[in-house]
């Protein structure tokens, strides 16, 4: 609580360590993925009406591949540990 009160926006790093560990990656990854998808699809789509749907699909694809890669790496590490 005191760390949150002492937090100075744009000067100090966001006290993300106040959150449970499993939440760190989604909190940091999802906004970046959405931003990349919006800009990329805004460039690629001929009509801007299509951007919302296309960017949503791309965001889910990126997140899906990230989750799959994380699972594969976790299994690989556990396999190598044995």
């Amino acid at each position: 609580m005191s760390a949150v009160l002492a937090f100075r926006p744009f000067l100090d790093p966001l006290p993300i360590w106040q959150l449970p560990n499993w939440l760190w990656t989604p909190v940091l990854l999802i906004p970046l993925t959405i931003g990349v998808a919006i800009v990329y699809k805004s460039i690629k789509c001929r009509k801007m009406d299509m951007v919302r749907k296309e960017a949503t699909v791309l965001t889910l694809q990126i997140l899906g591949v990230m989750v799959a890669a994380a699972i594969v790496l976790a299994l690989l590490v556990r396999g190598l540990e044995r």
Binding site: D12, P13, L14, P31, L32, G35, I38, V39, I43
Partner: protein, 160 residues
């Protein structure tokens, strides 16, 4: 008359410079307002999110050390600022700064703020700092894509 006005596009160089000065402004000048707002707002929000996540010290300014002091090197001419002696080596040592400056004047202003706040705010060595650096750098690289695409569209309009 209306058609000739719609086809009129500012010079490609002006579109490129406007796109750097204000992300998305290149599209705005070529008449693609909704594309300008979508890309510009997203790039600016990503950059600000990076500063919010990691703090302003995620901006590593070439030529300045962790405490905000000018980095000096010894040469045959005496002790000089590293940016006047070996600028390319210094920039290569801080490669993220290249991507961050592509976000436009935001990159310059936050770099100045980073140097000025160096006395009171230390550089974080947590993963949060890396995430902040990544956000600001990705925002800059996305803005480069936006600049390239808007100038390409401006050139196509110019040729028609």
């Amino acid at each position: 008359m209306a058609d000739s006005e719609q086809n009129m596009s500012p010079p490609v160089a002006i579109v490129a410079i406007a796109g750097w000065v204000l992300p998305g402004a290149g599209y705005w000048l070529t008449g693609e307002r909704s594309r300008a707002i979508a890309t510009g707002v997203t790039v600016i929000l990503l950059y600000l999110a990076g500063l919010l996540i990691g703090g302003v010290r995620v901006i590593e300014v070439p030529g300045f050390g962790d405490a905000g002091q000018q980095i000096q090197v010894r040469t045959t001419n005496g002790v000089v600022w590293v940016m006047s002696a070996t600028p390319m080596q210094e920039i290569k040592a801080k490669p993220w700064s290249i991507a961050q400056i592509l976000a436009g004047p935001m990159g310059i202003f936050s770099g100045v703020a980073s140097v000025y706040s160096a006395q009171s705010v230390a550089v974080s060595h947590t993963p949060v700092n890396e995430a902040g650096t990544l956000y600001t750098a990705v925002a800059g690289m996305l803005n480069l894509l936006v600049i390239i695409d808007s100038t390409h569209r401006a050139a196509q309009k110019e040729s028609t």
